[in-house]
């Protein structure tokens, strides 16, 4: 029952955001990785299910870690992708601020880090 309510809310939210009702479409965001940046196709998502597509357009391999900025929050990681490879993960996001970064040594320090807000 709770799930159903949550999903209904999600549908409404997406329909509102996209301006067109098209069933229970998950939100999507693309994270483009390059040396040395992470670029998100949008900075803000609604709470709920989201498809996160990681696309490495750089020269080197990169991975991606995503973690909510809260004590004890678990992190999700996408294993290392060679250049021009990509991978989509399906996540259920609760409200909050998330940090995304490449966890390969020194890549985060060089700039491969970004923030995603969910609310």
């Amino acid at each position: 029952m709770r799930t159903a309510t949550l999903l209904a809310g999600l549908v409404a939210a997406v329909a509102l955001a996209g301006g067109q009702a098209q069933g229970a479409a998950p939100q999507r965001v693309q994270v483009t990785e390059d040396e040395w940046s992470l670029v998100l196709s949008r900075q803000r998502l609604r709470p709920g299910v989201a498809l996160v597509e990681v696309f490495n357009i750089g020269q080197d391999a990169h991975d991606l870690v995503l973690r909510r900025n809260a004590k004890g929050a678990a992190s999700v990681s996408v294993p290392k992708l060679d250049h021009f490879m990509r991978k989509t993960v399906r996540l259920k996001l609760v409200a909050g601020s998330y940090t995304l970064w490449c966890s390969l040594p020194r890549h985060r320090e060089r700039g491969m880090v970004a923030t995603l807000r969910v609310r």
Binding site: A25, S41, L51, T88, T115
Partner: protein
């Protein structure tokens, strides 16, 4: 002197060619309807369409989800392909493709589907409008600024990338009426554009920054002035060689043999007045050369969009993305700034790519001997059925005869026994595939 106009019969075959050249082929019955308007009416319905209506099922991915053109790889390609399939303004959409090929920008160098789609909107807005406005806007379009180093071009370190292509590829033609010095001076005129890099969001807030602009005197095409980016464009637009470049290039998008001198001169005159594209298009689309000249190979994306229009099928799979690459045309990724080589669409690899496109397009309509409608053991009916599924394309009698011969000989040994039931659907599938990949259907 007036531009020659086609005054032969304007029937279904002529309307069909017009729809392929100036759009993405006919839907079922569309060629007949267009033919009824006569040549002038048909051309005007393309060059002066009403507001856009998208006709047909909404696009979705393989899991039935709506497309996310900004947020998912390949959905940019699918989104535009859908537009080509469903639009009620085929020429505007086809011209958007022509401009994409003309001001060829690749996301391989831009790295942002959002910026590529923004540029695509710009191309569509000016699809049938003013080349001048288009040129001015594309020059400072964010994707173009990234692609051809416009934001790397500052008074301290000028970058000639855009200046060179502006003349070589966009407005004049290689080495046609400009010098290396003009390239350098135009680069100075174009200085001043920049963006702000925002962590997580990338390049944003593209803008002109006076501090980065070189305000000094420049000499371009022998004229002197403190030119800026608008002047750089206008100087090209006013260059005496510019009209010829534009009309020849536009013409070549619709007719495979160059225009005769008189026609060309008239087209230049039409264009020169105010850089409007519509009158030029109206003249080209009514020209006898389009209807009586040789056929043209359809670009791969046009070929596919037309197949889907003929079949009445919407976008329901992401396979079109990689298949498009296999056939030689992935939208938003032209091979380089010169665009696709429209004289070399077909080789043994891209032919196989088109075979695969046709195979995937026909897939859902594939016939089986176990389920679905029974296929009569009748060669004539099978060929007729194949033509019907594909929207009754016009083919040469020799092609039709060959398909019939194929069906007849394939069914000859299948009069009785298990083959009698199993073979007709096989043969029907094969005839559709052969028809869709025939030289007749690959060209228009």
């Amino acid at each position: 002197m007036a531009i020659p106009r086609y005054n032969g019969r304007f029937g279904k075959a002529q309307a069909e060619r017009l729809l392929w050249r100036a759009g993405f082929g006919p839907r079922q019955g569309e060629a007949e309807r267009l033919a009824k308007l006569g040549l002038d009416g048909a051309v005007r319905s393309l060059t002066r369409p009403g507001p856009e209506k998208l006709v047909g099922p909404a696009p979705k991915d393989d899991k039935g989800r709506p497309l996310a053109p900004i947020d998912a790889y390949g959905h940019d390609h699918l989104w535009w392909l859908d537009r080509m399939v469903r639009t009620s303004r085929p020429l505007a959409e086809r011209m958007t493709l022509v401009w994409h090929d003309w001001f060829a920008t690749s996301n391989a160098g831009v790295g942002s589907q959002r910026l590529m789609l923004q540029q695509n909107g710009l191309l569509r807005r000016h699809a049938l409008g003013s080349f001048k406005e288009l040129l001015l806007e594309i020059t400072v379009d964010p994707a173009m600024l990234l692609w051809l180093s416009g934001t790397e071009n500052s008074r301290r370190s000028p970058n000639e990338n855009y200046a060179r292509e502006l003349m070589e590829l966009f407005t004049l033609g290689e080495g046609n009426g400009y010098t290396e010095r003009d390239v350098r001076e135009q680069a100075r005129a174009l200085t001043g554009w920049r963006y702000t890099w925002r962590r997580g969001a990338g390049a944003t807030d593209f803008r002109f920054d006076r501090e980065r602009h070189d305000p000094g005197q420049k000499v371009v095409f022998g004229r002197r002035g403190t030119f800026d980016w608008r002047d750089a464009c206008n100087l090209c637009l006013q260059h005496p060689r510019h009209p010829r470049f534009v009309v020849e290039k536009l013409w070549s998008a619709f007719v495979p043999v160059p225009p005769d001198d008189a026609t060309r001169a008239e087209l230049e005159r039409l264009y020169r007045a105010d850089h409007r594209v519509r009158p030029v298009l109206e003249a080209v689309l009514a020209h006898p050369a389009l209807y009586t000249g040789p056929r043209m190979v359809k670009p791969p994306v046009v070929y596919l969009a037309g197949l889907l229009r003929g079949l009445g099928r919407g976008i329901d799979t992401a396979s079109w993305v990689w298949l498009g690459g296999m056939a030689g045309q992935r939208l938003f990724y032209p091979p380089d700034v010169a665009g696709w080589d429209d004289t070399r669409w077909l080789d043994t690899a891209t032919f196989r790519g088109r075979w695969a496109l046709a195979n995937y397009a026909l897939g859902p309509y594939s016939l089986s001997d176990r389920k679905g409608p029974t296929v009569p053991n009748d060669p004539e009916a099978i060929v007729k059925g194949a033509l019907k599924v594909l929207g009754e394309p016009t083919i040469r009698p020799a092609t039709r005869a060959l398909l019939l011969r194929f069906a007849r000989s394939s069914l000859a040994g299948a009069k009785t026994g298990w083959k009698a039931k199993a073979y007709p659907p096989l043969v029907a599938n094969a005839v559709r595939q052969l028809l869709a990949t025939s030289p007749d259907y690959q060209t228009s």
